[in-house]
Amino acid sequence: MSHDKPNDQVEDKLYGLLAEYESPGALIEAANEVRKAGYTKFDCHSPFPVHGIDPAMGIKPTILPVIVWAAGIAGLGLAILMQTWMNNWTYPWNIGGKPLFSLPMQIPIAFEVTVLLAAFATFFGMWGLNKLPQLWHPLFGNDRFVEKAMCHGFFVAIEAEDPKFDDEATKATLQEAGATAIEEVRYKTSKKHRALPNGVIAFMVMSVCLALVPFAYIAKKRASKSDKPHIHVVPNMDFQAKAKPQAASNMFPDGRASRVPVEGSVARGELKADDHFYRGITGGEWATEFPKEIALSAETMERGQNRFDIYCAPCHGLNGAGAGMINQRAEAVGATATGWVAPSNIGQESFAKQPHGQLFNTVGHGIRSMPGYGSQIREADRWAIVFYLRALQRSAHSTIDDVPAGDKPAIR
């Protein structure tokens, strides 16, 4: 762009005649004369709007008010549609049981949007009708025009393209109208002379490119996968300086985030003062009786069997002899050689002699390699298991005489 191409013709072309007048009044007179002489492609230029020039030049009222009116009506309709659609249809807001649609509540926003669109129409419509922005114009090449037109000069410009234009005759018309100076305005036809400076174009291109970078980045991120956490531009409250359960913390001397309850404090319903029921102890010894809360009934026996089959049988076996599934597996894989302790036979004599309380304690807290089941099985169920254990022990040492007479034929 910096040097002319051979075929880029730089022709000095006549734009028209520019005549200066001494005052706003003189300009009006001149405009009148020029119009009367039959010119149509002419314009007056002044540093401020000269009142009275419109009829002198024969300027018809602009259509702008109609455009503004239409935009205003569009804004009104748009605002009412928007509010109705957003608050009544797609997201119905029930505000204190008031009717969803009501015009009065829409008035403020409808008014504002009407004004906004009308103002946009006024602003952009006016520039559009005036064919602006147009940064290049032949008149800007005229020194007299540039010096005075925006400051204190009053000009009439008649374009060479006007059908009535004739260099001499037009000059005479302008002169007779009282011009203080008349000049020919010429301009270069090459595009180069109309283009924006390279710096401005470079700035605009760069701004557009830079403005696209964030969008390109977002688009790329949306289209690709990542195993990293989301970018938190604004952290909101996602990362808080807070202690999580079971975590370490420098806050307390013991280095734990969780606090231990004050010694001796008891949670509601967790006092467990009844030693017999909760711990199987009476008078400092293992209880030999079942607590009074446990009914020694068939239901308790069934409940005990049910719990035993779930929690105890996997190791001890369904008959309590110590041959449960886990033990079978351990023996099959040879775990006995690496320290597998086989589950006890519940039916053995030493267990049968133990008081109820001691067995209850073993179920809850475990013994040797057996874990305690206190956290899984509630006290009443543990007592039911003990009750069932007594039945298993009894059956381990039973003879055919223990079978009721009526059932003997069935097992024989």
Partner: protein, 454 residues
Amino acid sequence: MSSAETSTEALEAREYFKGISDSVCGIVEAERAPRIWYPAFAAALCVAGVLVVSLYILLTVGTGIWGNNNSEAWAWPIVNFVFWVGIGHAGTLISAVLFLMRQKWRTSINRAAEAMTIFAVICAGLFPVIHTGRPWLAYWLLPIPNDMAIWPQFRSPLAWDVFAVSTYMTVSILFWFMGLVPDFATLRDRTKSNVKHTIYGILALGWRGSARQWHRYERAYLIMAALATPLVFSVHSVVSFDFAVGQLPGWHTTIFPPYFVAGAIFSGFAMVLTLLVPARAIFNMKHIITDQHVENMCKVILATGSMVGFAYGTEFFIAWYSGNAYEGFTFLNRAFGPFAWAYWTMITCNVLVPQFFWFKKIRTSPFIIVGLCILVNVGMWFERFVIIVTSLTRSFMPGSWHYFSPTMFDASIFIGSFGLFFTLFLLFLRFMPMIAMFEVKGASPHAHAGVKHH
């Protein structure tokens, strides 16, 4: 036509027009600003720095740094918002309402007043946005489709406020820029620098003062004024709905819209005078912004100040006349309760101070005018403080009564907003034509030079 008499008249007119261009463009074209501009700009920048630091702390720590609490949730941020929006009303009032009323004296002050409006609305807009606590989500206020599938609740006056203030801001900027274009063209044609020629050239959009363009331009200006006039009244009415639609005693009252609008004009004119009385002295603009213009503005302040005083009286009368116990209590509490000091500050500054403008001697003493105008704005800030704080700290439930105390950050953000305002305004004075040259020329008697009377 070519008689000696008309020639002298035409010559005088052209010299007058050139004089206007020279004195207004001269400020922008001068190598250096008047000496006092530099310390003033440095001070404004420092105070704006206080705002930036305070906002950083606000955003990183949270709104807990303010004095706001459960019952006094609005407090200073909303006081400041209403204060700045109110100040932002004078510009459009001067450019639109006085234009429709054919008050030619407005041409000397409308440009600066419009600039002041835009900067005040920028300061105003800051406060509700930071008051949300998470300003990066402020776009939730706008009807934009979002992944929560929820829309703004248009029955809320706060949603109206978003539309009113943003429309006002947009229309003010359009109006202001439209007025600037012919003056940018003047600057474009005067400058010798290539860079400035390019910048002013782009801003002037290629304006060439054509009568056919002036015709549409003037029509557009008139339409803009006609649109901006109801807009300026609507904006502060909608701001007052934030209160009036609420059911709190002291807020729930129909007098609010006109009373707020009068107060806004009152405070806006006071701010215009506070800025322009020193500016016209510093930039030697006394021949354009004349003593008569200053007097006119003083009279507007006197009139609107008296309206505001009348509104205060009416509020008290209605509190008694309605027989509503809550309303009655609220107003007695305002005058004699724990915030009585704020109430009487407001009454003194807003009702008594403007009464001095009855005297011509005072309307022509620049120092006294600026002093009184600053007091008026102090009073107008306290008006919003009284409305918001006294009502919220003494609401229906005595259990939520308490005394409100601001914190250091309440103050630093408010003071900082003045830094932002003055920084922008001083930049405007230095780099843009502070007086609408083409309007001053067009409104002067010289604009009719050589016109034959039929």
